[in-house]
């Protein structure tokens, strides 16, 4: 990965001069509309249209080729047919342009021919040291320059939310939608096919961009999860990053790959990656935008105590319930604070938290007086308010009132109730505490519009405001994580390498259990004490040595699933039982195979760990509930190797059954250091031995406090 100062987007997002290639004066062509956005949305630099036939484009002098331009533009945008792009990019390369945006579709996403064209495009760009966005993208916008090359107009003051998306729609077509929600981008980038600049470059750029206070990512697939993780880890401790990932299903992958050619992967790997990276995952585009906006605008939440203020019981209850479900508390207020609040609400209201003012036309209490009392009390860390409204409601009821108030017009009627907004709008800043609002009115209401314009989130439903607060709560957890402290990879074990090489030489697809455990032991992973025996007396002798009770297991690389086949004999208590069991195992196997004599490890708690290689992800570490519950509950979690100690420990806390591993029903807490170490090591083994495709440690029995690997399997890469 390149270092930050060389991130190609700094130059691409802030050009002084732009050329467009292909945009003419036909207002029904997308290319023309995109070029119009440059000239209409206030770009302060120079604009050069290139067009084969037009003399002027939007009143700007048009040039017939790059070579006619008075200077090499900082950025060139292509909106003409695919086959022409490569040649003209070369022209721009020759005159010295270093950044390009290729809007044009018809490349890799269309099949082999398009793929070839895309390779040519990359080759030309490399040759002339050009860094480019696309092809098959919707462009970008920078509200702080300003510069907008998308089809939708950019309006309003500069924003604070940075966005990068593998779907162009979410950059451009949603601009009118975002305006209605009061959400404004700092910078937004559509990455298209990511032939050169990819979404990880965008993440890095937005992480460094001073205008961007939070980052939202729409992801359908990552080509290099490791680089993504490394980049995100540097950003998330100081700037919130949110992501939506939707490529995990068959249909999702079908849709994603046909469109952007991106690489989808199983959802659980992305889930683990996001947790590891400190990224806040969301489940819809609405959340990606609105939670991103909350995180971009509001002071950090410092604790989890929340106040709820409403003009109606229902929304208050719903907000309290939603926040509770998400791990926040809605504590009852002190008697003193309740007494203060009661002075400002009717007797049938409620002051306990949630505060319910009940319905009232006067907005002073709900907007100013009571929030001020609550925020200065020190009893909470944040406030959600539902029901603050004025002109929206008044305009709605006005048609019924005309007979009584006169035909003065809805706006004029509502204007009579207007109040000074300065004090309520200054509250979040005054107290440095987050405030989030909701009502059932949009920007037609003067409060909604004023708050949104002052970077205070205003939602159209109480649960949405509560979920916005929960996004702050989630980011608070991210900020509290210990810093990532990578451990050094241990040296490769010669013994392990020999075992693996030997197995591959013999054509084995996997190691037998004994060899698997030798590899694990070579890296210090605690495995059950065991001896390989080749006769009944040998087995009995081994058992005497190990100590009873013991387990006997047939051991061969061909025997992967031993349960239920008579190949395991548990709980043997004497040499006689061992000799009988030995013969029984051989009889079940139907061939002369070695038999593993293992110490019988006892413990009520069983977990599992593992490693898999996944294209684009490298070595992934798995941890979960083990034994019989593995498949039935699928209570597990993944991370990318190498893991630091903290990340391994987080994996243990992530599974639903994590309480089981603490002090639980009279059982001691598991040795967390030992268990974390197993998780780190299993990932390290994956990195040190790329010939291994899969490691499975299941079950790991918690014996007393200590995790002991009782069964394991190492699967080898197939050439």
């Amino acid at each position: 990965m390149e270092n930050s100062s060389s991130n190609p987007l700094f130059e691409l997002m802030e050009p002084k001069t732009i050329a467009t290639v292909g945009a003419g004066n036909n207002p029904m062509k997308m290319g023309a509309i995109q070029a119009l956005s440059i000239v209409k949305d206030g770009f302060p630099g120079k604009y050069y249209p290139i067009h084969p036939t037009e003399k002027e484009v939007f009143g700007y002098k048009a040039y017939s080729s790059a070579f006619d331009l008075p200077e090499a533009p900082d950025l060139v945008m292509f909106v003409l047919p695919a086959p022409l792009v490569v040649q003209i990019l070369e022209d721009f390369g020759k005159i010295g342009t270093k950044r390009a945006i290729v809007i044009t579709a018809g490349f890799r996403e269309t099949g082999p021919q398009g793929q070839e064209l895309e390779e040519k495009l990359k080759e030309v760009a490399r040759r002339y040291d050009i860094r480019f966005l696309g092809p098959n993208c919707m462009g970008m916008l920078n509200s702080h320059l300003p510069l907008n090359v998308t089809v939708a107009p950019l309006t309003g003051p500069p924003g604070l939310l940075g966005m990068a998306s593998q779907s162009g729609t979410y950059i451009t077509q949603t601009l009118p939608y975002l305006r209605e929600k009061g959400i404004r981008y700092s910078k937004a980038i559509s990455v298209g096919n990511e032939a050169d600049i990819d979404i990880i470059d965008c993440l890095e750029y937005l992480g460094e961009d001073q205008d961007t206070k939070a980052i939202s990512l729409y992801i359908e697939g990552l080509k290099d999860a490791g680089r993504f993780l490394e980049t995100a880890r540097r950003i998330t401790p100081h700037k919130p990053v949110l992501a939506q990932y939707v490529g995990g299903t068959d249909a999702g992958a079908r849709a994603g790959s046909s469109h952007t050619g991106a690489m989808a992967g199983p959802d659980y790997l992305y889930e683990g990656l996001f947790r590891q990276a400190g990224i806040i995952r969301v489940e819809s585009i609405e959340e990606l935008y609105s939670h991103g906006w909350v995180l971009a605008t509001q002071p950090r939440l410092k604790g989890k105590r929340l106040a709820v203020l409403t003009n109606s019981g229902g929304p208050g209850t719903a907000m309290a319930n939603t926040c509770n479900d998400g791990g926040m508390e809605v504590p009852a207020f002190s008697q003193e604070l309740q007494a203060e609040i009661k002075k400002h609400i009717p007797p049938h209201g409620s002051a306990g938290n949630p505060v319910d003012l009940t319905f009232h036309m006067d907005s002073e209490a709900i907007s100013t007086t009571i929030p001020d009392l609550i925020l200065k009390s020190g009893e909470v860390d944040g406030l959600v308010v539902h029901g603050l409204m004025s002109s929206g409601f008044l305009k709605a009821v006005y048609p019924h009132l005309t007979d009584l108030v006169g035909d003065i017009g809805a706006e004029n009627f509502a204007a009579q109730f207007a109040r000074d907004m300065e004090k309520p709008l200054s509250l979040p800043e005054k107290y440095g505490l987050p405030m989030i609002f909701s009502s059932f009115f949009g920007r037609e209401d003067n409060f909604t519009a004023a708050y949104q314009d002052h970077n205070i989130p205003f939602f159209d439903g109480p649960e949405k405001a509560a979920c916005g607060m929960l996004a702050l709560h989630r980011y608070n957890q991210v900020r509290k994580r210990p810093a990532f402290a990578p451990s050094e990879l241990p040296p490769q074990s010669e013994q392990a390498a020999q075992i693996i090489t030997g197995a591959r030489d013999k054509g084995w697809k996997n190691l037998d259990e004994y060899s698997s455990k030798l590899v694990l032991r070579a890296y210090g992973i605690p495995v059950s004490t065991e001896v390989l025996a080749n006769s009944a007396p040998e087995a009995a002798q081994a058992a005497d040595q190990i100590g009873y009770p013991v387990v006997l297991k047939g051991c061969s690389p061909d025997l992967v699933h031993k349960t239920g086949q008579g190949l395991i004999k548990l709980n043997l208590n004497s040499s006689e039982e061992v000799e009988l069991a030995y013969n029984a195992v051989l009889a079940s196997a139907g061939q002369d195979i070695p038999v593993l004599v293992s110490k019988m490890v006892k413990g009520e708690r069983e977990v599992m760990a593992g490693m898999i290689h996944q294209e684009g992800f490298g070595s992934c570490v798995l941890f979960g509930l083990g034994g019989i519950f593995t498949e039935a509950l699928k209570d597990n979690t993944f991370r990318l190797a190498p893991l630091c100690r903290t990340e391994a420990s987080e994996m243990i806390d992530t599974i639903k059954a994590s309480a089981l591993l603490g002090e639980y029903r009279g059982l001691p807490p598991v040795n967390r250091k030992a268990l974390s170490s197993i998780l780190q090591t299993v990932g390290d083994i994956g990195l040190l031995h790329p010939e291994i495709s899969e490691i499975d440690l299941n079950p790991i029995i918690i014996s007393g406090e200590e995790p002991v690997v009782v069964d394991s399997l190492i699967v080898l890469q197939q050439d």
Copy 2:
């Protein structure tokens, strides 16, 4: 419960004559605005204002009291201060009015005095046979009469969604919001304090109301869960019912009880109740409205195969992913269908399902041609479409185009692209298949408005459209449930009754394990074979008789948690071991107590069942994962007793670990009939013996296929 023809809401919702008491000509009073809604929103009957001083109200002749009226109105609405309501209600009782709405607050929700006033109100109503809504409510509306007594104006044609709410806001203040979303009520009722008519009456009424096609309920607490269940069970097989419940947390309960005085309860009981009743639970008010609207308007989903059609990859992937997560399938289309679709999309589009047309200004393909191909193919059961838009987008980009297209106005510009809507709007009806739409434009777009006005749901986000389809999918599961077939309660066991009485006479708080199991066995629940022994030889003899291995457990009503106290000795294999164990247990107990000698039941799978009494719910049955996992995973589910066989079986399928109880990793499927029977019986015992407050069967070990109760506790009600 009264039978349906006597439901008091039929008369209340369709009066021919209405009086209001308290509403005058001051437009800033809520009461006046509510009365205005009656006269402005088209009520076809007679309106009589009662007012102490005004001669006319809104131009209607005002009367000074009920006795001055020319007739007894069918309905009277009170908006005057609380202390006056009781007397005036009596006046109306005297003239013969039988239905009332008490908007007025200041009753039970304000404390003991208000409670007293509410009792007086109920007493007067009872005396005159008056059924009433409220007090402390926001009224109701009937869009089919029409009649609206809420503060917000009623607009648009009659709707199809019935709503009843324990929060008035959701009936009245959201009307402008709902108009923007294209959602229209058939009937909506704010229940307030439910002093007389309650939300269950509303559910029953809406269930029978022909104008209502789906029912949404906002619930903060139920006083009689059993009556709710009985009512809902009759409705949900033929009409969808949705509910939001938010009272389950401390703060939620605090907010709810202060406002409506409703009875909140633990969330898990409501979760179980809704599942049992076939009610679709939602998590936000937005879902309550919008999913209700989908279910009210769309043809039933007959299978789970879904088509996804978009003008952009991102929303298509997101919709496919959301539907997959919710249990629907997005199957790849046949080659034939794909070939047909490809004729209508550009080469870089995608025809596989999701279908991605890529961005295009022509709406024919996305609105008509391709939906028609998909729906007539027979390859799917429903269709979600994102990106259908025209004037919304055109008006958004118009400001940039004025130089090129002329200053013709945004509306005129957009109008050039208008198309015939008849064919696309007729598609759902033509094929009898559900269609749901989304785009990022609201009613400013001609498509959004037209679809909404034709009862085709149109959302503002792709995941929302997908979740709407999932609501249809969930209702499809409800419809496929076998009919509720109540089993007869078994006769009370004399032996069980004697054991319980005996224990209570001795002042025990709970039965000892042996007695608990005797009660269970008396009702046919399979428990481990066991004998109570009072000496070591007795124990050894019992063990010989039962067969080895056995378990010894100290047995006394004082010993509830035996684990880890040396009071249990497992896996004893000989009479010698038993005698030693007997003495060890007594030593641990420190007193001379009987010892239970039980057959050692073996099995890898452990579940648990139980019964608790909960105020408002009666006997509730619990089922979940047992043994060591009980607390760590809390994988369990509740239902109300009595359970029918199907409901018991559904409980088994509800827990996350249900796969464990089928054929699993070489283990046979559990005897489902036997396990269901345990669940039914444990509920029956709760009903037959109200002296029992709690039954706990944990673990129930699955021995081979058979569930066997290995430990149990019966707790008695404390007087």
